[in-house]
């Protein structure tokens, strides 16, 4: 069993994602957040189980449904909330919004609004690590079941495999690509099974079991660090909310959602922690209260932050940043 402190940390991160997303949904419905919010409610185990294996020196690339990945990788939720609301203290100074959150300082290379676009970018970052002979650093590339059907998936897995790059392709199969079911749109028994086409290991994991995800990713990370190259993991989970807030979900049966709600990854993990005497009801209440407060503080931080000045409109189209390395 993992140390209690680590387990509690994972539990708290999963709750942070859940409460952050619930708050983002609320703020979108209240008109505070514009554009689109793609909540990852129900998918917290994938983000946390994966990122618990990573340090700030490891890179991730994320997707349009990326809040959870960023929080799990250690992003500051104050700056995330400010970005989502479009404020100047946001991660991207209000220029990116929900789909473009990045924190270069802790290895979050960027969420991405284009399905499948982050996959070759992750492979390029892995090449950088090999080029610089920094072989301990790994890259995790998050994408969905929709992204697995883009051409970049094939190009990237092939390139990573021929050059044995330290990248983990982490497919978060949440069943739905907007309204298109993954079992309709994806040929073959599984997405994880596609690994054999590239001669790399592949596995299908229960994406609602945070410890299962953790150990599958750990194995892939160890494989990368020993120089053996990439792994493809398919984590099977479910998108509890619509594609975006406001999605009428005419395509999806309520009974199916209810089944998956019963498989809530946070409740399942909580149950495990109770049974193993790592967590008490009382401690759980206290952690939940603390996390809720942190999320409220993030909203306060974002509300206090000014909107970006119009002077910044044409800034940072060209130029140089301090340091890419």
């Amino acid at each position: 069993m993992l140390p209690a402190e680590k387990l509690i940390g994972m539990y708290e991160k999963m709750l942070t994602i859940r409460f952050f997303e619930e708050k983002a949904v609320f703020l979108f419905r209240s008109g505070v957040i514009g554009g689109a919010v793609h909540p990852s409610i129900g998918q917290e185990a994938v983000a946390v189980g994966t990122c618990e294996n990573l340090s700030n020196d490891d890179f991730i690339t994320s997707t349009h449904r990326g809040h959870g990945h960023c929080i799990a990788k250690g992003a500051d939720i104050n700056r995330m909330m400010a970005e989502i609301i479009g404020k100047s203290d946001g991660y991207c100074r209000g220029k990116g919004g929900s789909m473009h959150i990045a924190d270069r300082s802790i290895g979050i290379l960027g969420s991405n609004g284009i399905v499948g676009a982050g996959i070759p970018i992750a492979v390029g970052a892995a090449f950088r690590n090999k080029y610089k002979k920094e072989n301990d650093r790994v890259v995790v590339c998050f994408f969905g079941d929709g992204g697995a059907n883009q051409g970049t998936f094939h190009e990237s897995l092939n390139m990573a495999a021929i050059w044995k790059l330290s990248v983990i392709f982490l497919c978060e199969n949440n069943v739905w690509a907007i309204s298109t079911r993954s079992d309709y749109a994806s040929s073959g028994k599984s997405i994880g099974g596609r690994a054999c086409a590239y001669g790399i290991p592949g596995a299908v994991v229960d994406g609602n079991d945070v410890l299962g995800v953790y150990s599958a990713v750990k194995k892939a990370v160890d494989r990368c660090r020993s120089g053996e190259g990439p792994t493809l993991l398919e984590c099977k989970t479910y998108r509890i909310e619509g594609h975006f807030v406001g999605d009428p979900r005419v395509y999806c049966k309520k009974e199916e959602v209810d089944v998956w709600k019963k498989r809530c990854p946070i409740l399942a993990f909580e149950d495990y922690l109770f049974k193993n005497d790592v967590l008490t009801e009382e401690a759980s209440k206290s952690i939940r209260g603390r996390v809720k407060k942190k999320v409220e503080d993030a909203v306060q931080f974002a509300e206090n932050s000014p909107f970006p000045s119009i002077d910044t409109l044409e800034k940072d189209v060209y130029g140089s940043t301090a340091d890419n390395a």
Partner: protein, 329 residues
């Protein structure tokens, strides 16, 4: 001055930059043993090894995405797309990723990526290997677009592009690779965003890009014999555009012809003409003329291909029209 081909000059620029900075590496199709379809990467893999001259599978989107990923983490990739026509396969990575990364992430990273590619007609490569697509990229904030027309500029601009912290689309021309010209000895750089006045003249300004510079120079020789003095400007960089050099020539001649191989409709000439008009309308003595390609996919058969792009006589006629517009008044 020593003479070199455009291809040799580019090769020398790559070699010098790779020697200077160990973070510079090349990736693309057929770069290593083959040395590039036009010999631009000849012998570089032998000298620098397979990690610095990376032969890739045929995966254009993958190549540019890979370049972006390595660029935002500290390397300086020079990615090659064999024909600009194939960049269509990588448009997301060029337009949505490379161009926008810095702005979209609030300046957390920059993308020091050079995309070398080549375009244009003249080798009977037909509709999918002959296009001039530069104006698409001029339209995208975050990209720089460079089109050298001779060996000296090719070398100096490529070195600058590699040291630039923004993504640069470096568009070579398939008809220029084996053309020779003077190239200075030793290290020199040519700034991005600086046009050159190739030839001074007083009657008509011609602004021409890439291979069209060659045809324009020949047209100007003829026109001089017929008594029209032509000033030739090569912008060299389309984005950012050195409009000041163009404007001062317009102030002098008052007559402008813009020549490019890309089709006229929606082409770069329209942008240049508008920018001149907006600020220097009073200097103009005649309507600006554009000489560009026909609005057709590039045809295969030689007479059709020739008819689809500007020829010396088209340039001469346009110059005579703008010149006579005001002299005949």
């Amino acid at each position: 001055m020593r003479q070199m081909s455009y291809s040799e000059a580019l090769n020398e620029a790559l070699r010098e930059e790779m020697q200077r900075d160990e973070n510079v590496y090349l990736l693309g199709e057929d770069l290593g043993d083959y040395g590039g379809l036009f010999r631009v990467t000849k012998d570089l893999q032998k000298e620098f090894g397979k990690m610095r001259v990376v032969d890739t599978p045929i995966s254009e989107s993958g190549i540019i995405g890979f370049g972006v990923g390595s660029a935002i983490t500290g390397l300086r990739p020079v990615a090659e797309i064999l024909y600009i026509d194939f960049i269509t396969l990588a448009m997301d990575q060029v337009v949505n990723q490379a161009a926008k990364y810095r702005y979209m992430t609030g300046n957390q990273v920059h993308v020091p990526l050079v995309i070398r590619t080549q375009g244009g007609t003249g080798r009977r490569n037909a509709a999918q290997h002959s296009q001039s697509l530069e104006s698409w990229f001029v339209h995208v904030p975050g990209l720089k677009v460079v089109m050298p027309s001779n060996p000296e500029d090719a070398k100096g601009l490529l070195k600058t592009a590699i040291r630039d912290d923004d993504p640069v689309l470096f568009i070579e021309h398939k008809n220029l690779y084996f053309k020779r010209g003077p190239v200075p000895e030793g290290e020199y750089m040519i700034p991005i965003g600086k046009a050159t006045v190739f030839k001074e003249g007083k009657d008509v300004t011609i602004i021409a890009t890439s291979w069209m510079m060659e045809k324009t120079i020949q047209a100007a020789d003829q026109l001089e014999k017929e008594g029209i003095s032509v000033e030739i400007i090569d912008p060299r960089t389309l984005q950012p555009l050195d409009i000041e050099t163009i404007d001062s020539s317009v102030d002098k001649t008052g007559c402008v012809v813009i020549v490019h191989e890309a089709c006229t409709t929606g082409g770069f000439g329209a942008e240049v003409a508008s920018r001149i008009m907006e600020t220097h309308f009073a200097s103009l003595k005649a309507p600006i003329e554009r000489v560009g390609g026909a609005f057709v996919p590039i045809p295969y058969s030689a007479p059709l291909e020739n008819a689809s792009i500007p020829q010396i006589e088209n340039i001469m006629s346009a110059v005579k029209r703008v010149f006579s517009y005001h002299t005949s008044k």
